[in-house]
Symmetry: none
Subunit: 211 residues, 4 copies
DNA sequence: GATGAATGAGGGTTCATTCAT
DNA sequence: GATGAATGAACCCTCATTCAT
């Protein structure tokens, strides 16, 4: 359980992340992971201690933290509050799309809450990020640009829910808009642009006075 | 495998739905289900053929179909297109909140795509409901009240994503707004109202010209 | 884990007792037991719950209890205290020789104390039997035939130690006395006679005044 | 596998002896031993070749050999045969109590006969010591002080059986006689005295004519 | 029609050992 | 000479399912 950043450890993390995102935690066996990673089964216990702790390691290494981004935005005097919020939304879209597999796992694990350590980690992440966003919103409210009454967790539901749900509907969405001819990169770029624009409209409506 | 609507069968369906929603399909054993339902383990194979077919039965009996609702709305001349859309959104909120457990299962199963029969069922439901909603939107567009260019699947992502994500954040949301003192019914009623209002703002912004 | 006295259960108990006595608890795998019993591996969990509980079941079914024998002896007016004690010694020799395999297990398990349930069972059995024997000894002391100061646990050590140690030296003993030509039954009969006579000499010396 | 008497080797031997005596050979893993000895796991194979050979090394270093003691006794003209025998019994008590852990291992290993090399070693030790004791007994017989017919292996069973069995009942014995207040050394001294006296009574009865 | 007994496959984990350094 | 990394085998147990009744 010792070596922290060996190549095999990273390989196991990547393979596990992929398989968990495809078949779920309980639907993936350690033998599956080890075989696909081309590594001996016993190495999972060796590196991580157990299958559960492997999952925890994935969470530790992949979880999204927007605190730094928010701090940068708050300091940036060249942006008005709505623009700051837009940048933050882009950050969410970007980061979640960058870590599709992990966020698919996250989606399921929030439902199938079993591992108390992961429950704890999720709670912390959620609170932390919510609080960061609150800082941006309060700024807009102070400047009189945002509505006084904003249900921030509800707003976050829409933000995360929209992006996450897109993750499980990627193929459907691609087919609907006949985007199969695009390369993966092109599609991804297009999708991020669409998501970003879509969410900005939503947030502007939610945050602004005029409704 | 014969009896179609015996009491035991319904009991198994309910128990399985609950356990699948709490622990996932792979995390739930047929023993768990049978024990909690107070029924012999062999009965699951007996009534449904297999654990997988039990899952399929749950999907068959719980899937949301909005076609009828849409047909009624389209015929109702007393409502303008936006009102029709609002009614439809309320229908979604109402139905998903009514079937929380099933929609938690649905959330995971869309990620953990394993059973081809369920994949097929999901695809059909999605297309069917999308097409129904499209009918309402086209009506609004014809009357010049809705924007010409609406990304309907993206809009649906936000609708379903927002409601679904609320399902996995219920406790967090309740705690954040200090609603623990409410009874379950009161909280549910409050939540549906908030969800409904929130989503209407979003849809109005998305469908209207003014952005 | 339900059926209490099925044939397969008994077969598993017998096979496990034999293998545990030959290779020890940790040296015997559930596969070994199941294979030799001609029964599926899963049946051990099915009948007993676990390998440990199988061991506990063996202890429950095979443990020696001399209370009844002692009660009969105490009531029997035709025997003097030393004769009563002799009968009790014969009972020990007889019962332990009858259950050689179990007592070999017992021998090891007293050393390798791991399972708390078995530790508890052993403590109870030891106390119970010690107390029963004490009753016989007190009778002899009351009648002035036995020494006042007898270290009963020490005496029991010699009784159990002598018989138990013979169990692990059977082959050596047989070879030393050139008894290989005897049938198993003949050898066993001879051995029990020798053990019995030997132990009686010892106990007479320990209990009588004249030392 | 080279260094014969390095410090680490001795540390491994001691730790292994302790763990084998507490949890048995099969119940102790090489990891356990290495960890508790503060030494790398691979060292066990390195120093001893294998776990089995580590056990053999323990037997080689700890086995009791009374030949020398017997030779000294035979030469000592100041002692009569019974006194010589008493001295020999004290030697047994002393040596076995000195090496409690090893003799607990021995107790189990005689039952769980798996390693042929150890079986062989045990047979040799047993024969050697038996033959040594025989020398003392024959002397007593020649002088007409001991019975002609003595079942020496049976007598050894009682000797070894009594001491060994005390090893597994130490705590019980201490509690029974309320000796918990004694220090370890005091208790050990007391116990050896009691054992010694007890066994001498027994041997006198077995060896003398008067029964 | 309904069920307890039984099964073979596979689950996660730990084992003693060996290899490359 | 000494060690951390890695291995394949085996561990006990639980799985979904089927069979005999």
């Amino acid at each position: 359980m010792k070596p922290a950043y060996s190549e095999k450890r990273l390989q196991l993390l990547d393979t596990a992340e992929r398989l968990f995102s495809e078949k779920g935690f309980d639907g993936t066996s350690v033998r599956d992971i080890a075989e696909e990673a081309g590594i001996n089964t016993a190495m999972i216990s060796y590196y991580f201690g157990s299958k559960e702790k492997l999952m925890e390691a994935i969470f530790e290494e992949r979880s999204l933290n927007v605190r730094e981004k928010v701090d940068l935005l708050l300091k940036d005097d060249s942006l008005d509050p709505l623009q700051k919020m837009y940048r933050l939304l882009d950050e969410y879209v970007e980061k979640i799309m960058q870590r599709k597999k992990f966020h698919r796992i996250l989606l399921c694990e929030q439902v199938i809450n079993q591992n108390p350590i992961i429950i704890e980690m999720l709670a912390k992440i959620k609170s932390r990020n919510l609080s960061s966003i609150n800082d941006v919103i309060r700024l807009g409210q102070k400047k009189g640009l945002f509505k006084k009454q904003v249900d921030v967790p509800m707003m976050m539901n829409t933000l995360i829910g929209t992006i996450s749900h897109m993750l499980v509907n990627l193929d459907f969405y691609k087919a609907y808009h006949h985007l199969e001819t695009l390369t993966d990169e092109e599609f991804e770029k297009t999708l991020k642009k669409k998501l970003s624009a879509h969410i900005k409209i939503i947030f502007k409506a939610i945050l602004s006075h005029e409704s």
